[in-house]
Amino acid sequence: MGLLHNLGTVCILLGIPFFISGTIGLLRFPDIYTRLHALTKADNVGLGFVVLGLSLQADGWHTVARLLLIWLLVLIASSASCHLVARAALRKKIEPWSRP
């Protein structure tokens, strides 16, 4: 149990840099489209590591199933809303930033 618990902690700690870099990308990137890249991808991997870590520390299959389902639902919600935000921006004729 001790080994699994420590492995879980390592996974959760691995997830943190992804969340941080997603937020740094949101602040640093130049336009709406590149910011969407930062938010959807980095946060998805960060949450994946947190879910993996918590699953290793969980006390039953029911909790693991619940965590995986939450991750799947967040994946669907974030990629669908990413598509909708990008589509709305494109249809409002917001030009993507390009390297000058």
Partner: protein, 175 residues
């Protein structure tokens, strides 16, 4: 994305069977999320009913048959690519020079039906360097964070894997 047939045109029996299938599916999802406490159904029952009605309204087609082998092969493929997607964004966000070279790319989708296209669109946004920005007809507009990345071949590979999840084989290999 609306399906090919509106729910009004379907026979009542078909509609009821599809509604029942969705009620069961969402009830299972709810019980995984909320546990087996009976009181959770005070919120769960209205939520499950609303979800089933919404899904039947917006996507009236039959629940698609999936290929278990295709799905089994898709999961590691997807996890691997989305992990590298996260790493790629991390590298660009943290690098002092911020290596970005974004642009729009168009891609002709050959997947025939709405559920497959939705899966493709959602997965593209989690791949390294691409988000799906618009979709009309069969033409997909992709925003890429780096125009030097092999966007076409990555999306093409993803499209073939998505087709395999639904037990389909796509014809043609080159653009």
């Amino acid at each position: 994305m609306p399906g090919n047939c509106s729910p009004v045109s379907l026979p009542l029996a078909t509609r009821l069977t599809r509604l029942l299938a969705r009620l069961v599916l969402y009830a299972v999802l709810w019980s995984v999320l909320a546990g087996l406490d009976g009181r959770s159904w005070i919120i769960g029952l209205p939520a499950v009913s609303a979800a089933a009605c919404c899904s039947l309204f917006f996507a009236p087609q039959r629940l698609c048959p999936l290929s278990p082998l295709g799905l089994l092969r898709f999961i590691p493929f997807f996890l691997n690519l989305s992990f590298w997607g996260g790493c790629d964004v991390m590298r660009r966000a943290l690098s002092p020079v911020m290596p970005l070279n974004p642009g729009l790319v168009r891609y002709q989708v050959s997947l025939p039906e709405a559920p497959q296209q939705v899966l493709l669109l959602n997965c593209i946004s989690l791949l390294p360097g691409t988000i799906s920005a618009d979709f009309s007809g069969q033409c997909l507009t992709i925003h890429t964070i780096d125009r030097d990345m092999p966007v076409w071949s990555t999306v093409h590979l993803l499209e073939r894997r998505v087709a395999a999840v639904f037990g389909l084989r796509l014809a043609g290999g080159a653009p």
